[in-house]
């Protein structure tokens, strides 16, 4: 049933929305001044996951193409960034000594190029065949990284050179920039960078989804034949979705590398691919906001469970016996949530939020009607 919402008019909604956005903006800017390192690190991890999840939701949710390739693309971008930015004099590995900002941009384009390289596959294959084909990219990518030690650092990985923007190095330093009396070290600086990247990714993601392009992608998802008869070039639409999603994955890979401070091939495994799928499904397929919510949940939860394991029942520290490890607990929850979402609420957390809001407006309207009746009588 669709009803026209009369209780809250459009201008009021816009005002509420503006105020909420401003509040969130202020909170994000002020947060690093008060939060300790653990919370900042959690935030950084969630941020890089959210950027990647926005990319994946365009591919899986909007275009309807199952993909496991995200870790492969993230690894490609992370290694490209490290290789381009590392100083050839100081490192035992390959290094070109480019400015880190340029290296980061090139790394994102490198991920896009990887997506483009995989796209002949994407445009030739349809449906589920493509999903299983991308499974192989994860394994092949890991194999390349493990063996091409000059670039990847091999099993133990290699340290990531810090980002530097406008002459400001985003690393710990003895003379840090000071904001409102708080020295801004590595985590605080990376927090602001991640916030900026998320804003860009959010706007870009929404523009892709809610535009002519997004509608053509959704048409491909619903029926390739129907899309083609309506003038959508199915192959190029799929290729475009792949490249766009790859570049989001690339940005996520660079952020991830900067956050963890080292890249190791082992990280970019099939488990990561499944985590990303869990994020977009739990958040709500095809929704940018949902991807971010899913990322906060799936990427943030293991860190929180780990940190507070001594205060939580059932959860134990890594290596301890007699309970569940934080990572196992997270995969239980993630799996159960995927199943529940697919069975009962395919729009995920976003769907739940919408339901909640419509329930609230309905209740609000009912009380207003009752009060107006009361005053009239």
């Amino acid at each position: 049933m669709t009803t026209i919402d009369q209780t809250t008019s459009r201008p009021t909604q816009a005002v509420i929305r503006g105020v909420a956005l401003a509040l969130i903006g202020v909170a994000v800017c002020v947060a690093p001044l008060y939060l300790d390192t653990f919370w900042l690190r959690t935030g950084l991890t969630v941020a890089s996951a959210a950027v990647g999840a926005i990319g994946l939701t365009i591919l899986v949710g909007t275009t309807g193409q199952l993909s496991f390739a995200h870790p492969f693309l993230m690894a490609g971008a992370a290694v490209t960034y490290v290789t381009l930015a590392d100083n050839p004099v100081n490192t035992a590995h390959l290094g070109l000594g480019l400015p880190p900002a340029a290296a980061a941009v090139l790394a994102i384009f490198a991920a896009g190029a990887l997506g483009l390289a995989a796209s002949p596959l994407a445009s030739r294959l349809s449906g589920i065949y493509l999903g299983i084909a991308t499974l192989s990219l994860v394994f092949i990518g890991q194999h390349i990284l493990e063996n091409w030690t000059a670039a990847s650092g091999g099993f133990f990985g290699r340290p990531v050179p810090p980002m530097s923007l406008f002459g400001l190095s985003l690393a710990d330093s003895p003379t840090p920039p000071v904001l409102l009396g708080v020295p801004l070290q590595r985590e605080e600086l990376l927090w602001y960078l991640s916030a900026a990247v998320i804003v860009v990714a959010w706007i870009a993601g929404r523009n892709v989804v809610h535009s002519r392009v997004g509608r053509s992608l959704a048409a491909v998802r619903d029926s390739e034949v129907l899309a083609a008869t309506n003038g959508v070039n199915v192959r190029s639409a799929k290729r475009g979705a792949y490249i766009a999603s790859s570049m989001f994955a690339g940005a996520a890979g660079v952020l991830f590398a900067l956050t963890t401070g080292s890249v190791a091939p082992e990280t970019f495994n099939l488990g990561l691919a499944i985590s990303f799928l869990a994020m977009v499904v739990v958040g709500g397929l095809g929704s940018v906001a949902g991807a971010c919510m899913g990322a906060a949940f799936i990427a943030g939860l293991p860190l929180l469970l780990q940190e507070f394991s001594d205060q939580l029942p059932l959860i134990v520290q890594t290596g301890e016996a007699g309970g569940m490890q934080a990572s196992t607990a997270t995969s239980y929850l993630a799996g159960a949530l995927i199943v529940l979402c697919m069975l009962f609420e395919p729009r995920g957390l976003v769907g739940l939020a919408t339901r909640g809001r419509s329930l609230a407006t309905r209740a609000l309207r009912r009380t207003r009607i009752l009060t107006s009746r009361a005053t009239h009588n």
């Binding site: 299983i132 995969s331 799996g335």
Partner: protein, 296 residues
Amino acid sequence: MSHLTSLLLNGLSTGAVYALIALGLVLIYKCSQVVSFTHGTLVLLGAYLVGTMDDASGFIVALLIAVPVAAGFAGSINLTLLSRRAGAPPVSLAILTIGIDLVVLSVLTQQLGSNVLNISHPWGETRWDLGVASMSANRGIALLMVAAVAVSLYLIFTRSPWGLAMRAVSEDTEAAALMGLSRTTITTLSWATAGALACIAGMFMAGPPTPGVTTTVAVVALRAFPALIIGGLDSLRGAIVGGLLIGVAESLAAGYQHELQFMGSGFAEIVPFLLMLGVLVARPSGLFGSREMTRV
């Protein structure tokens, strides 16, 4: 020459195990258009069930209990979860099976930890000497098993009423429903059969020459996906050919790893996936898969 022969033979026998898993995946796909990402874990579950019970009750009894239990579990996954969403887009159904896989795999990981569970196969470490080469009895029996399964599936499909019903459902679900065939029953039966095959595959996979039941069984079982895709998602013959092909390719890459040193160490593990990509570029529906025909 004997090196090559023994590599081929071992490849075929490893491939037989992949083929068993892939056969189950094809059965499921044909009936319900679901690609089951739960299957790697079902293989582990089967191996785990046999491994936990055979100390107390002996191998034969353990297997006789484990196979129906695994079949029942797979069937109930379909009955309680997947059949509720029958007809949903294949990608949603695949994601649903990923969710189920995460839960079941977490339970098994929690149970197994980093332990190795040994299965005491009655044939043990015996090796069959075939003159030119030798192979482990475990894998040899797996090869014979695949032949037996292939023959019986062929007979079931062509001769039995269930096979006919299954073909009818996979051909046209609505028409089959109008003829009084329950889609849920047929798909649940195919899931159960696939679960039984996965259990048997797990039992072989956790035997010599590989160590016992560890969580890596679920990862190795993922190599059945290349087998499935190479053969074609909906072709039983393709699953067998694909499985054997993957097994042989992997065995050759491992056997000639010195000659293949330039491809990096551990190359054999990714050969199945490279082979899959190669086949897909040439034939997008696999070797035997039915091609999607759309003209616009």
